[in-house]
Symmetry: C2
């Protein structure tokens, strides 16, 4: 099986888990369940669950241990997109080629949909905690990654510097490492935590670099991509004077930075060894992605 087939297999396996979760949602009123399902079923690359499953395979962690963690992380990711798209935040009308949650359900319901997904992620994880100390540890790690010393700090800094054009490296790194990379580190580190911390430090570093790479290529695509391939508004981040790699380093500087980050990711994976071919291909895939 080649890389692409394997990626799709992981993603499809996760989509099955997600589908079951969506089918079992029976909260009232109906608009609440509908708004949760709408954003969860918009699709997307599912890179976070793919990372959890593939790192799990590398470390030999059983799939059934991982699936609720992968689900919880995807719920957290989806909540962050819904709140990020709100008019008072990034004000994006499109997500994955379809109208954003607040364009369909209104901003009030979108606030609640985001809150609901975040809370449901932790409801799932508290139920995992009864299985043992390593489950508690993994759940706690995810929660910290998503929180005020993690993703939310990055979002807050991003919002603060929205109209700030005096770009500097430390601020950009703070935003990228928190806003994007923390929720890439979580799915990468969870399988390690669940098997007693095998390669934990390396995988944490891998998650950080891969997350930053993901964000830098996002910035490049914001300049070079198209609405058709990305399914969201393009040319928006740069124009509004946001903190982006392209605004700080230019397009060529950003491509160079992406190469450096990809090389660091490969170096870490080679250090870990084992059946790491899929993850090595995934690094190239993120580096060269067109969507």
């Amino acid at each position: 099986m080649n890389y692409r087939e394997r990626y799709n297999e992981y993603a499809e396996e996760f989509n099955g888990v997600l589908k079951e979760f969506c089918n079992n949602l029976d909260c009232r009123p109906e608009i609440l369940a509908d708004s949760l399902r709408y954003s969860l079923e918009l699709g997307g690359k599912r890179i976070r669950p793919v990372l959890t499953y593939s790192v799990g395979d590398l470390l030999g962690v059983e799939r059934k241990k991982l699936s609720n963690f992968a689900l919880a992380i995807e719920l957290i990711h989806t909540y962050s997109l819904i709140h990020d798209d709100l008019p008072e935040m990034d004000n994006d009308d499109f997500r994955r080629g379809k109208p954003s949650n607040h364009k369909v359900f209104g901003a009030g319901n979108a606030v609640l949909a985001g809150d609901g997904l975040l809370n449901t992620a932790y409801s799932l994880l508290f139920k995992e905690c009864v299985k043992g100390a390593e489950y508690i540890s993994a759940a706690s790690f995810i929660c910290d990654c998503a929180g005020i010393y993690g993703m939310i700090a990055g979002q807050s800094a991003d919002l603060l510097h929205e109209k700030d054009t005096s770009y500097n490296e430390p601020t950009l790194n703070f935003i990228y490492e928190n806003k994007t990379a923390k929720l890439i580190t979580a799915p990468v580190a969870v399988p390690s935590i669940l098997c007693g911390g095998k390669h934990f430090a390396e995988l944490k570093a891998f998650g950080r670099d891969l997350g930053c790479l993901f964000q830098v290529t996002d910035d490049i695509l914001d300049v070079e991509g198209s609405f058709e391939s990305l399914g969201k508004s393009i040319g928006k981040d740069g124009k509004e004077g946001k903190y982006t790699s392209v605004n700080l380093r230019g397009l060529d500087g950003s491509k160079l930075m992406a190469d450096v980050l990809a090389e660091r990711c490969r170096g870490i994976l080679e250090g870990i060894g084992g059946g790491n071919e899929f993850l090595l291909n995934l690094v190239d895939d993120v580096r060269n992605r067109k969507a």
Copy 2:
């Protein structure tokens, strides 16, 4: 010590815990930490921690077991107020006599402040989970109360019926039992869960009735109270055709309902017995509150 002195003692003890939490917050950027502290330190009655501490005393649960649970619930309560006050939700400019979070920090930061408080509540609770099965159970119970089958369901129904003037009892009860009573049930039930479920069913019923009583007296105060005593806009809920007890049952009907709920609360407490005098007084206090 009389009822009022004891209430204040519980509240002050909790305010010490909260103060320490606020002092130790050192997330970046500063506006994030400031916006969290602002809403946490606006004051308020602190009825939820007072309930946790006093039910804990009734059941003989050590205070040190309770304080992070009380803190987490107050964080969740505060997040719900911040999001509830947003322009797209209840659009309230005042809370506890001061400008709402979004009036001070802007709506984008208020969304993040709410997200941050919710996430931090669970970060605290995951750290409690390592202490044993009853801690996991209590944390999970709180999370479910706050979630899409609890508080968020109630908020969603409240928003859905915002302009609906065909009031009916089942919808009102659904909103009250979820939006308000679930996050009164959590602080009442937690001490029971932490000591192996002593009087759990009775305390759950007590929390539901007390929460509904609290909401009915809120509706009465919205008609009869003043901005000065309440610190928030009054006459707003009724006017906008919202689902309130007064709109459904009238003012006299609501007072009668409040008497019925208070009587049910007293009945449950008498069934439990023990040193329940403080809680009996608290029921009267909620029934007759002017703020």
